[in-house]
């Protein structure tokens, strides 16, 4: 576990009218560490990334950047400074690049806006960044337009553009889900290398547990707007506490399932974001191990094992509560 967290999230909450997209989410991102945030569509995981990128204002809670709350900063100078250190990459490398501009243009722009290098050094820095993300030969790639690149190459351009401002934190929102499986690994390996060589803190938002395990150090599991389990990735996947994490694990395609013929239970209830959620555990309608208290009291995130917490009355009971 290394150094001070440059980015710390405390009690972060975002409601879109009656929808509780994000409820009381806390975690920190540390240098040289990849934190994976997993959950199904509608769980609120992308909203967390967007709150951290200052694309939304939170309803309550705070985002602490080197100790000061940036969740509501409005002054352009402050926003620009924050964004030069905390960068977001999107799921769709087809949408996030301008089709009529060359690769060079995309990478030069942040270099100039944030005055990263003297103007004489821009060209050289563009080439250096392209080499860093494995796009060679850089002078050829720089002259290309997005449509001349494959999906994997475009996602690498997105990464090079983000790296141009030398960020301390990268928020990667499903960066591989639009890519072919054969190309995903390359992007994941690149993230691992950047974390090691440049000490970057990554938030890796994904629905793919196997990718999360492959690159991440820590794992956050989100369900209906809340973090339901957190801990070191190997520990959580080897011995998950929350029944939702277990359900996710059981759902991953596995060739050996043919032989075991194991079947996950049919879902009861809907997983979508919580609309006016009542008191109680949000997973209760789908939970195979629920007891009476689960529909009456909202479970808190309880550290049931060292560094490993879950929101579950059954598997991670709160020692302070007696039922």
């Amino acid at each position: 576990m290394s150094a001070v967290a440059p980015l710390e999230v405390r009690g972060l909450t975002k409601h879109f009218s009656r929808v509780h997209a994000v409820d009381d989410v806390s975690f920190e991102l540390r240098p040289g560490t990849i934190t994976a945030l997993v959950g199904e569509s509608g769980s609120g995981k992308s909203t967390v990334a967007r709150l951290l990128a200052r694309l939304h204002d939170p309803t309550s809670g705070s985002v602490l950047w080197e100790g000061s709350d940036v969740s509501r900063v409005r002054r352009r100078r402050d926003v620009v400074r924050y964004r030069s250190e905390v960068q977001l990459i999107f799921q769709d490398p087809f949408d996030s690049l301008n089709p009529v501009k060359t690769v060079r243009h995309h990478i030069e722009r942040p270099l100039r806006i944030h005055r990263m290098v003297p103007s004489g050094g821009v060209e050289e820095r563009v080439h250096e960044l392209l080499r860093t993300v494995g796009l060679v030969p850089p002078h050829e790639i720089a002259a290309k337009y997005p449509h001349e690149l494959s999906g994997g190459q475009r996602q690498r351009v997105s990464l090079a553009r983000v790296l141009a401002v030398e960020p301390k934190v990268i928020l990667a929102d499903e960066p591989t889900s639009m890519l072919d499986v054969s190309i995903r690994i390359g992007i994941l390996n690149l993230m691992t290398r950047l974390k090691r060589e440049q000490d970057i803190a990554f938030l890796f938002v994904t629905h793919d547990l196997a990718s999360a395990r492959y690159v991440a150090d820590d794992l956050l599991v989100m369900y209906a707007g809340q973090i339901v389990e957190r801990g070191p990735v190997e520990e959580v996947l080897a011995s998950p506490l929350h029944p939702y994490t277990r359900l996710l694990l059981a759902a991953v395609p596995d060739p050996s399932n043919r032989l075991r013929a194991e079947r996950i239970e049919e879902r009861r209830g809907v997983a979508a974001a919580a609309v006016d959620p009542p008191e109680g555990c949000r997973f209760v309608s789908r939970c195979p191990i629920a007891v009476d208290v689960c529909s009456q009291v909202t479970p808190g995130l309880v550290e049931a094992r060292p560094e490993h917490s879950a929101r579950c009355h059954v598997t991670a009971p709160d020692p302070e509560r007696t039922t």
Partner: protein, 339 residues
């Protein structure tokens, strides 16, 4: 030189072939998206078709349905349904064939529902376009079909926006079942959904297949899903089928370096973690495919060492050879080593 038998590779099943593709070729202008594909689907089986984007897997589905859009056209070969060639049939014959024998669920089909029409009416429309049935009868059948795919039958009155993505996808599958087809083509039916919903839908398709006995052509880039749910798997690369075998055999004994690369692109969920490499490089431009084996520029077993093997890899197109019963591979290495 070799004692291997030449293609076509016959699967070890005694059920008659429902659909047979014979040397199918499809062109989009100068690009040959499908180039000489032989493929059989038998009654009641799930055939998985996998490969990277642009390998031609969706084009095969469009060719079977005869819904290629210009400039796409069938440049050669035959598409036989119960022995009857679909290539060259009239528009009216094809319209009947499409719904009565085959139906297709497209990629992100859940967005194909009409947003201003109740779910039930969309069933009625589909059924009445192809069958003589009154509205009440059709609605009743719609309710039964919804129940089959695990949706509350009262949802016939719902509008699409009132349903989640997974439910909309089930509705589409239910509509595809409405005319009791013999073959259902599923093109990436679960790619936009998360794993839990994906598994539920796949389990449902499996159960429905058992009850109704239809065959499934399942198209996806996710080989791990096929390993679990398909009976047989065909792997495509750059417009060709390069390996085909029963799913269990692909899982334990994939022979083509491309198939091996695909399988090694999935990080494991348990056990030791090794650094994976994926498949370096990207698929070729089909307007100008590589000579010889189309995979040779990315193949880890192809080295410019002046050997006879290298010469064959770069100049001679490998053909699908049977290495074990029902297991075909198009690779010079396999030819070289024998079965």
């Amino acid at each position: 030189m070799t004692t291997l038998m030449e293609a076509p590779v016959e699967p070890r099943t005694h059920k008659p072939a429902l659909l047979e593709l014979r040397e199918l070729a499809v062109e989009y202008g100068r690009a040959r998206a499908v180039d000489g594909v032989d493929l059989d689907i038998h009654e009641g089986e799930i055939l998985g078709l996998a490969g990277e984007s642009g390998c031609g897997k969706t084009t095969i589905a469009s060719a079977v349905m005869q819904i290629l859009r210009p400039p796409g056209r069938i440049a050669g070969g035959r598409v036989l349904f119960r022995g009857d060639d679909l290539v060259g049939k009239s528009a009216e014959e094809l319209r009947r064939f499409r719904w009565l024998n085959v139906s297709m669920v497209f990629q992100s089909a859940m967005n194909a529902l009409n947003p201003v029409m109740r779910v039930g009416d969309q069933f009625v429309d589909a059924m009445r376009a192809h069958e003589k049935i009154d509205k009440r009868g059709a609605l009743k059948q719609a309710e039964e079909l919804l129940e089959l795919v695990g949706i509350d039958p009262r949802r016939v009155r719902a509008y699409p926006h009132e349903l989640s993505g997974g439910m909309r996808q089930r509705v589409i599958i239910a509509i595809a079942l409405a005319l009791n087809p013999e073959l259902i083509i599923l093109d990436e039916p679960t790619t936009a959904l998360d794993v839990v919903v994906q598994r539920e839908i796949m389990q449902q398709v499996e159960a429905l297949k058992r009850d109704f006995g239809f065959a499934v052509l399942f198209i996806t880039h996710d080989v791990s899903l096929l390993l679990e749910f398909a009976d047989r798997i065909a792997i495509m690369y750059a417009g060709e089928v390069i390996e085909t075998a029963p799913a269990e055999q692909i899982a334990v004994d994939a022979r083509h370096p491309y198939t091996q690369g695909l399988l090694e692109s999935f990080p494991p969920l348990s056990g030791p973690l090794e650094r994976l490499t994926g498949i370096p490089g990207s698929p070729p431009d089909l307007r100008n495919p590589p000579s010889g084996c189309r995979f040779h520029p990315r193949c880890p077993h192809c080295r410019p060492d002046g050997s006879a093997l290298y010469a064959r890899q770069t100049t001679e197109r490998p053909v699908l050879l049977e290495v074990a019963p029902g297991h075909g591979v198009a690779c010079h290495l396999v030819e070289e080593r024998g079965a």
